[in-house]
Point group: C2
């Protein structure tokens, strides 16, 4: 029982309608502006110059033909150049918002404007084994478990595959099994990284089957294709461009990722790294638009940071927080549905370092107004690892950060002289005031994991750290939550058609693992 | 050797002048604006109304007389009312900036504008014992140890006493010994909470002695008086007002703290809590100004959050992050040197929860442009505890956050087309580019504690968590760093004059504790 409820329980029952929850997906950010308006315009000027005067090399023949038809040209070095008028025109006519569908429509997200969402991302090759605490190669079963866990975490708004199934033997097997494990483990929107067109074509029948039949996926495309269409600096990734073309044709949303690393494959100067990333993503956006002007493209500027002492990536640095926030603001300048990475701690454990790095990187990206914050749950070790506990811990952290995005409501009621005067001249405290009861449910978020007890209560309860507490949630969810949204007949059909690695028996309670 | 340095060491030696470090105290924040301009004005309107139409009760006779002389009046309920013209006038004429002196001038801080600084604060009654890991009552020796530790942590810009010396027997002994332990342990600016005038008067000779003689402290006042001059809601704290008067008269900087708790001693509606805090601090500011128009006052709106289920304070919540950021923005609206609290995790351990809560609360306060972020190092358990490891960990976190405050530099050099073109058309990577060498030292901050190694390197080195690594720093600093800025003769004089609890032998290496 709460202190408030204990004092005056009757008042709480007066409200017949359910109060609005303190947070929801898609609250508006954008109140943090790392760039001034002139800064934004200067970055944009370089972006246009890079596209027109330098261009990108190694475009595919098919896309080259389409791009030239749209107004691009190829220079004497074989680089595809983008006239600034074309780029400006593509920015102007690209969809400003669209629905990123969940497998279940209740997980649909409206992407665009300053609406902020958070979810997973990444391609970690390892996972911290839940039993041994040691990192090991990740498997398709891990992918399925993470999907099930994310399915139950309210502040993780989608499940984009965060680990690589190392037990898949070929690229095609990997892509098919990754898609299947995501589909089977969650009803949220999913995403898979497809690096060739064959994979995209192979999975469409699977997506259609889950959507309800041939042609159905296209109506509610709940699987995004992650396309690293460039190899920074300023070069197209040929096979990924083929995958991109196939995915756009299939009606999939496209996450257009440019993941240069400042100081290595992007300028060490942060502003330059932002400009290069914007140019690289806009190049992809032009391609998407020449394939289908109605495509669902996500402007995913993901410049990373190098620790220049070693050349290693640092995902948790202050510089990374700035790069991601600055990119979110640039995307807002273009008014394009967008994504930035944040939450990519360099720590190998869900410890104080991880919390701190996730805290400032995610909150600055969110307040800069990122549509989608990828990598914001579960990642460890500069994206090279993941841990089950982290998804649970990060969900809690995301809740608090999303609460800050909701902001401070300024209304007649929140700035009410009479409330203050009545308390001051009366009881002397606000605990029993009706406003306190009303605000308790709508304005205050109560965490699942974060411990707010007194030192003595916490000590008496075993003095556990947050990671240990999160393990309880992992165990509970993974032993009980086996989503069953894919009908048995459809699953059988998929298993008959595709080389599915995940055993059927692993997808039921009492499987001997959980 | 770094990767960069190994490749082309000769280039690094070309720069004769030392490059500017990536961060410094007092970089400008203010790019995060939780309130719109109309919001700020609405809050301000309520602030003025609260001061004029409700006022504060329980003013001291001495200050009442001075306030009435300045234009205030006392209503039929004995409440001191503040005409809005007087309040506006006081805001307009209060010092916009001043030097917050360090004991050593190299730690002087210029407080005012949007310049951001971070340091300690608080009054934790317990400390997590470094050896046992259990919380116990804190002592004056702990206070001295924390001061020594902070003295070596570059991103903790001052040492305001963060723990209560429970081994002091009286208020006077507490205040004298707290002041002494802070003075002896660091050369940074210090602060002590004085709750009566006698304590203030008692310590002035000690401060003068350390400053170099009678009357010297006033010339470079390096000790701030923390004055909780109000008991929210809207009531003066009589004894603290006496202390405030004595401190202003003595020339001490004053931290004017209003620490209501939203939902208990301040409105549950966050905007209302901000308005009440502003009104309470402005009431104190009027008092300071009527005592000395040239006073060094710090607008310290510190509204806290209640977990309304239990009534307990939650320092790590998203709501707290908003309250502190919103208050910093209000102080910016008034253009007053200010302070907000952030970093007040509810976790009892330096774990993932602590990191996350500190990460978002401190970063949002900093980006909102707070002059001073108090409580930003060392705190645990909703301000009820502290731990030595946390100071070290938080120093690292503060560095990264301050790096984000520095922002993204937009110049000809950072947005250089030629750099990108040369790399793209040449080597294909930026590692060897002169710009990378130049930016490495000025734009990139390298943490002391945060681990950026690969998973395998980290495992081979013992797979330690951040807390464990921080313990090495605590041990090293506390066993070797015994500041000696107080001359032996002065110390002897202080020990002859005051009841100093801390044994002299404890202030030397090899004391059997460290």
């Amino acid at each position: 029982m709460s202190a408030v409820a204990t004092r005056k329980p009757s008042r709480r029952n007066k409200t017949a309608v359910q109060p609005a929850p303190p947070i929801r997906p898609g609250m508006e950010g954008g109140q943090y502006k790392p760039f001034t308006q002139p800064d934004l315009e200067r970055v944009h000027a370089l972006v246009l110059k890079l596209l027109e005067d330098l261009g990108l090399s190694q475009i595919t023949p098919s896309l080259e033909a389409r791009a030239i038809e749209a107004g691009c040209w190829v220079d004497e070095n074989g680089r595809l150049r983008f006239p600034r008028a074309l780029v400006e025109d593509v920015i102007a006519r690209t969809r400003r918002k669209f629905t990123l569908h969940g497998i279940d429509p209740r997980h649909d997200l409206e992407i665009g404007g300053k609406r902020v969402h958070a979810g997973t991302g990444g391609a970690a090759p390892t996972i911290m084994d839940f039993d041994t605490g040691k990192y090991r190669e990740s498997t398709v079963a891990d992918l399925y478990d993470v999907a099930r866990l994310v399915d139950r975490l309210d502040n993780v708004h989608w499940y984009h595959r965060s680990i690589v199934a190392r037990d898949a033997k070929s690229v095609l097997d990997l892509d098919i099994n990754t898609t299947y494990a995501c589909l089977a483990g969650t009803t949220k929107s999913i995403a898979v990284s497809y690096t060739d067109a064959a994979s995209v074509k192979a999975v469409i029948p699977m997506l259609d089957a889950v959507a309800g039949g041939a042609g159905e996926f296209r109506k509610r495309p709940f699987c995004t294709a992650v396309c690293c269409h460039v190899v920074p600096p300023m070069r197209f990734a040929t096979e990924s461009c083929d995958a991109l073309e196939a995915a756009v044709v299939a009606g999939m949303p496209i996450l257009l990722v440019a993941a240069g690393q400042a100081g290595a494959t992007a300028p060490a100067a942060l502003a330059g790294a932002v400009a290069q990333a914007c140019a690289e993503v806009l190049a992809g956006l032009v391609l998407c638009n020449v394939i289908d002007p109605n495509c669902r493209a996500i402007f995913a500027t993901w410049p990373f940071v190098s620790d220049l002492r070693t050349g290693a990536m640092s995902g948790g640095s202050g510089e990374q927080a700035l790069l991601s926030a600055a990119c979110a603001q640039m995307a807002g300048f273009y008014d394009l549905p967008n994504s930035v990475p944040a939450g990519m701690t360099d720590s190998k454990l869900p410890d104080m370092q991880a919390g701190g790095e996730k805290g400032y990187t995610i909150s600055l990206a969110a307040h800069a107004g990122a549509s989608m914050i990828h990598e914001s749950a579960g990642m460890q070790g500069s994206l090279m690892g993941t841990s089950l506990e982290s998804y649970v811990l990060d969900n809690d952290l995301l809740g608090a950060i999303l609460r800050t995005v909701k902001g401070v409501e300024v209304t007649e009621d929140t700035l009410n002289f009479d409330v203050i005067r009545d308390v001051v001249m009366g009881e002397g405290h606000y605990l029993g005031h009706p406003q306190t009861f009303e605000r308790m449910k709508t304005d205050y978020l109560y965490p699942d994991i974060a411990d707010r007890r007194s030192i003595s209560e916490w000590e008496e309860a075993g003095a556990r750290d947050a990671r240990d507490v999160a393990r309880d949630t992992v165990r509970r969810v993974l032993s009980e939550h086996y989503p069953s949204h894919i009908p048995e007949a459809v699953d059988t059909q998929l298993r008959d058609t595709f080389n599915i690695i995940l055993p059927k028996a692993r997808m039921r309670p009492g499987n001997g693992v959980w």
